[in-house]
C-alpha cells in the first residue's frame, strides 16, 4: 500500500477519546471522505494518470488531453475522498506519481524506442515538459477541492456560533 493509501486510511480511521466539539468538527470535515472507500484516494491518484496515459495512447497521444483531463479529475477525486489527515499525503504524492507515470509511458511507448541513456534522458525531458502543466493544474484543482471542503466543514460551526 502506498503512503498515500496508508495516509488516507489513517486519516479516515475513527479516533476515540475526543471531545464532542472535536468529533463533530472532524466528522463534518469528513462528510465526503467518510462515505468514500478508504482506498479510493490512493487508487484515484495512481489510476487516473495511468488510465489517462493508456487511453491517450489508444487515441493518439499518451501525454495528450486525455491524460491531462483524467489526471486532473482523479486528483480532484482523491482530494475529495481523502480525510483531512490523508490530504497531507495525497497532495504531495500527486507530482511524483504523475511524473513517474508520464516518464514510464514515455520510455515504454515512444516510437522509435529510446536506444540509449542519452536518448532516454531526452525522453524524460519530454515527459517532464508535458506533465508539469498538468501537475500544476491538478494541484490547483486539489487546492480548490480542499478549500471548498474546508469551508463546508466550518460552516456549521459558524452557524452554531
Amino acid at each position: 500500500m502506498s503512503s498515500a493509501a496508508r495516509a488516507s486510511t489513517a486519516g479516515s480511521r475513527p479516533r476515540t477519546g475526543r471531545g464532542p466539539a472535536q468529533r463533530t468538527r472532524a466528522d463534518q470535515s469528513r462528510s465526503t471522505s467518510s462515505r468514500a472507500p478508504r482506498w479510493l484516494p490512493a487508487a484515484a491518484l495512481v489510476l487516473g494518470p495511468a488510465l489517462g496515459a493508456l487511453l491517450g495512447k489508444a487515441i493518439g497521444g499518451y501525454h495528450g488531453p486525455v491524460f491531462a483531463l483524467l489526471t486532473i479529475a482523479a486528483a480532484a477525486l482523491a482530494a475529495a475522498a481523502a480525510t483531512p489527515s490523508g490530504r497531507w499525503w495525497v497532495v504531495p504524492a500527486l507530482p511524483p506519481v504523475a511524473w513517474l507515470i508520464a516518464a514510464a509511458a514515455e520510455l515504454a511507448w515512444h516510437n522509435p524506442p529510446y536506444a540509449d541513456t542519452k536518448a532516454k534522458a531526452v525522453g524524460l525531458v519530454h515527459a517532464t515538459t508535458h506533465v508539469f502543466p498538468v501537475t500544476l493544474a491538478a494541484l490547483a484543482v486539489m487546492g480548490l477541492v480542499i478549500a471548498i471542503a474546508t469551508v463546508r466543514s466550518r460552516r456549521p460551526r459558524g452557524r452554531r456560533a
Binding site: 477519546g17 511524483p96 522509435p112 525531458v125 519530454h126 515538459t129 508539469f132
Partner: protein, 555 residues
C-alpha cells in the same frame, strides 16, 4: 488534566509530522524540478520563428513526396541571401556593407544560396548531406498554398529555372496577391509570402531529389553572422590561400592564408559567400558552406555547447530571430538524433551537374545555369539516403584529397618560405588546384596568381635557401624540369609557374554513382551547353566532418 490531554491528542505525533514534512518536501521538490525543466525547455524554443511549409506541400501537388517509412530524418537547410529581417525591413545598410561585406540591401532578393539536404539515419549511422548547387536548372512546380486571411491561392508552375529562385519567385507572386488583397501589415505580408516561398523551394527540392523533407531550417545572412558571433570565432582550413578582392561591386574581400585560420563572424560570412577566385566557383562555394557547418559544429562541441541545455539556450536566444524552423521541430530531439552529426560522423557532398549553359533570363538577357540530370540525382540521393542498414560505413567513400587520414601539416621549411604558384595557362583555377595538391602533401602555398596565358613548360625557381623545398615541390608535382636557382628572387622564396605540360593528378573516386552523359531531363531551349566530357562535373571532393579534427580543408 483533561484539557492538557486533549491538547496533546490534537497535535500530530512527531513521526507523523516528520512524514508530512518529508512528503511535502518531496512533492515540492518534484514540482520545482519539473518546473525548471519545463521552463528551460520552453525557453529553448519560445520566440523562434516557425514554418508550416512542410505540411503545406500536400498530396497531389507536383513535387509532393510522401513521407518515408521509418524514423530517419531528412532535413533541408536553407540559406537565404536576404538582407532583410523577418518583418521585411532592410537590415541597416552600414551593417550590411561594413560588417557583412554583403553589398547593399537591394542585392540578393530571396535567393536560396544555400540548400543542403541532410539525412540523419535513425539507426545512428553516418549522416549524409548533399549540397544542391544554387544554379541548378530544374523544374519548379507550383501548388496550392494556404495563406491566412487570403484562403488558398494557386501558385502557378514556375517552370524551369534556377533552384535558388523558386523561393524568390513564389514569394514575389504571393506578395503581389497579398498586397492586391489589401493586406497592409508589412510583417504579415513578409511572413506569409515567405511561407509560400518555402513551399515552392520544398516542392522543387523534393521534385529534384525524390525524397521527402521532414524538417527545414532557414537562416539568413544575419543568422550566419550571429551564429559565429555568439560562438566567438571559428576555425577554418583552406587548401590554398584565399584572396577575393572587392572589385566592380563583386567579391567579398576575403584574404586568408592556406591552412587553419581562426576567423570572426564577418570573415566567416566572407568565407561562405566567396565564389570568385575559386577553382569551381559555385561548386567550390558549396564546399565552403559544408566546411563552415563542420567548423561551427566543431566549435560548439569544443566549447561544450552541444549537450548543455543552458548553453544551447543561450545560443538559441541569440540566433532565434534569424532562423526559421518548421513547427514540427524539436530542438531536443534533433540534438539527440543528430548526435552523429555533432560527433563529426557526417559526410557532405555536392550534387553533380552535367555542365553549364546560358539560358534566357537575368539582367543581361541571359544567365548561366548548371545543367543537371534529374534521374541521376534522384538515384544518387535515394540510394545514399536509403542505405542506412550499415551503421559504420558511409554510403560514399571519402576522397583522400579532402579527408586525408592525417591532417596535412605544412612542413617547417614551408612555413618560413614564401611559395608562389602562378598559372601560366588559360585553365581557370589551376594555380589554386596546384596549391591544393601541394597542401595535401604538406606544403602550404603562400600566394597564387597569374603567370601569363601561354607558358609551355612548368618551371620552379627558387631563391637562396629554398633549394631543398623546391626539389620537394618538384617531386610532389611530378614535373620534369628541375628547379632552378634565381638570384632575382628574394631568399627563402619559390615561384612555381604552371605551364601547359602540367597535368593534374586524376581525381580519386568519390562516389559510387558518377554523372553520366545526358539521359533525361528538361534542357534549356537556347544556349550552348559546355559539358566538359561525357562524365560531366561531379560536385567535387566530399567534405568529411571527421577529417582534420572537424575542420576539413577546402578551397
Amino acid at each position: 488534566m483533561p484539557d492538557r490531554r486533549r491538547i496533546a491528542r490534537r497535535r500530530p505525533a512527531p513521526a507523523l509530522l516528520a512524514g508530512r514534512v518529508l512528503a511535502a518536501f518531496l512533492g515540492a521538490a518534484v514540482v520545482a524540478t519539473t518546473g525548471l525543466v519545463w521552463y528551460e525547455n520552453k525557453q529553448l524554443t519560445d520566440g523562434t520563428h516557425t514554418s508550416t511549409a512542410i505540411k503545406g506541400v500536400k498530396a497531389g501537388d507536383d513535387g509532393y513526396v510522401p513521407p518515408h517509412l521509418g524514423n530517419d530524418v531528412n532535413l533541408l537547410l536553407i540559406g537565404l541571401d536576404s538582407r532583410r529581417d523577418m518583418n521585411g525591413n532592410d537590415l541597416p545598410t552600414q551593417f550590411v556593407e561594413d560588417a557583412l561585406h554583403a553589398g547593399s540591401s537591394g542585392i540578393g532578393g530571396y535567393n536560396t544560396n544555400v540548400l543542403i539536404l541532410m539525412h540523419i539515419p535513425a539507426n545512428g549511422g553516418r549522416v549524409t548531406a548533399y549540397s544542391i548547387p544554387r544554379d541548378d536548372y530544374v523544374e519548379r512546380p507550383g501548388g496550392n498554398a494556404d495563406v491566412p486571411g487570403l484562403g488558398t491561392i494557386k501558385v502557378p508552375d514556375l517552370g524551369m529555372g534556377k533552384i535558388k529562385e523558386a523561393y524568390n519567385d513564389a514569394k514575389a507572386y504571393a506578395e503581389g496577391k497579398l498586397t492586391a488583397a489589401g493586406v497592409k501589415d508589412k510583417a504579415k505580408v513578409e511572413a506569409e509570402s515567405r511561407e509560400v516561398g518555402r513551399e515552392a523551394t520544398l516542392r522543387a527540392v523534393q521534385k529534384l531529389t525524390g525524397v521527402h523533407v521532414d524538417h527545414l531550417a532557414e537562416v539568413n545572412l544575419l543568422g550566419f553572422y550571429d551564429v559565429v558571433k555568439a560562438i566567438g570565432s571559428i576555425q577554418v582550413c583552406l587548401k590554398a590561400p584565399a584572396n577575393d578582392p572587392i572589385e566592380y561591386g563583386a567579391g567579398t574581400g576575403l584574404k586568408l592564408p592556406a591552412g587553419v585560420s581562426t576567423i570572426d563572424a564577418a570573415t566567416a560570412l566572407q568565407f561562405v559567400r566567396q565564389r570568385y577566385h575559386l577553382p569551381d566557383s559555385d561548386l567550390s562555394r558549396t564546399h565552403r558552406q559544408q566546411a563552415f557547418l563542420s567548423s561551427v559544429t566543431h566549435a560548439l562541441r569544443a566549447k561544450g555547447v552541444l549537450g548543455d541545455i543552458g548553453s544551447m539556450q543561450s545560443l538559441f536566444g541569440v540566433v532565434k530571430n534569424d532562423i526559421v524552423i518548421d513547427n514540427g521541430w524539436s530542438v531536443l530531439d534533433f540534438a539527440q538524433q543528430a548526435s552523429n552529426l555533432t560527433g563529426g560522423n557526417a559526410t557532405f557532398s555536392t550534387l553533380p551537374i552535367k555542365g553549364y549553359a546560358d539560358v534566357p533570363g537575368g539582367s543581361g538577357g541571359k544567365t548561366s545555369v548548371n545543367l543537371v540530370d534529374p534521374d541521376l540525382i534522384k538515384k544518387t540521393v535515394t540510394t545514399a539516403f536509403g542505405n542506412d542498414a550499415a551503421v559504420a560505413p558511409p554510403p560514399t567513400p571519402v576522397s583522400s584529397a579532402s579527408a586525408p587520414s592525417t591532417p596535412a601539416t605544412p612542413s617547417t621549411a614551408a612555413t618560413k618560405t614564401t611559395i608562389t604558384v602562378n598559372n601560366g595557362t588559360k585553365t581557370v583555377g589551376l594555380a589554386l588546384k596546384i596549391s591544393g595538391v601541394l597542401f595535401d602533401n604538406g606544403i602550404a602555398v603562400t600566394k597564387t596568381g597569374n603567370g601569363g596565358d601561354n607558358v609551355a613548360h612548368t618551371t620552379i625557381r627558387y631563391g637562396t635557401g629554398a633549394a631543398d623545398l623546391a626539389k620537394q615541390i618538384q617531386t610532389k608535382l611530378g614535373t620534369k624540369t628541375a628547379p632552378t636557382a634565381d638570384k632575382t628572387l628574394p631568399a627563402d622564396s619559390i615561384v612555381v609557374t604552371i605551364g601547359h605540360d602540367y597535368k593534374l593528378p586524376p581525381d580519386k573516386p568519390t562516389r559510387p554513382t558518377k554523372p553520366t552523359s545526358a539521359t533525361s531531363g528538361a534542357q534549356p531551349s537556347t544556349g550552348a551547353a559546355s559539358t566538359p566530357g561525357s562524365n560531366g562535373i561531379n560536385g567535387g571532393d566530399d567534405v568529411d566532418m571527421s577529417s582534420q579534427n572537424g575542420i576539413p580543408c577546402v578551397y
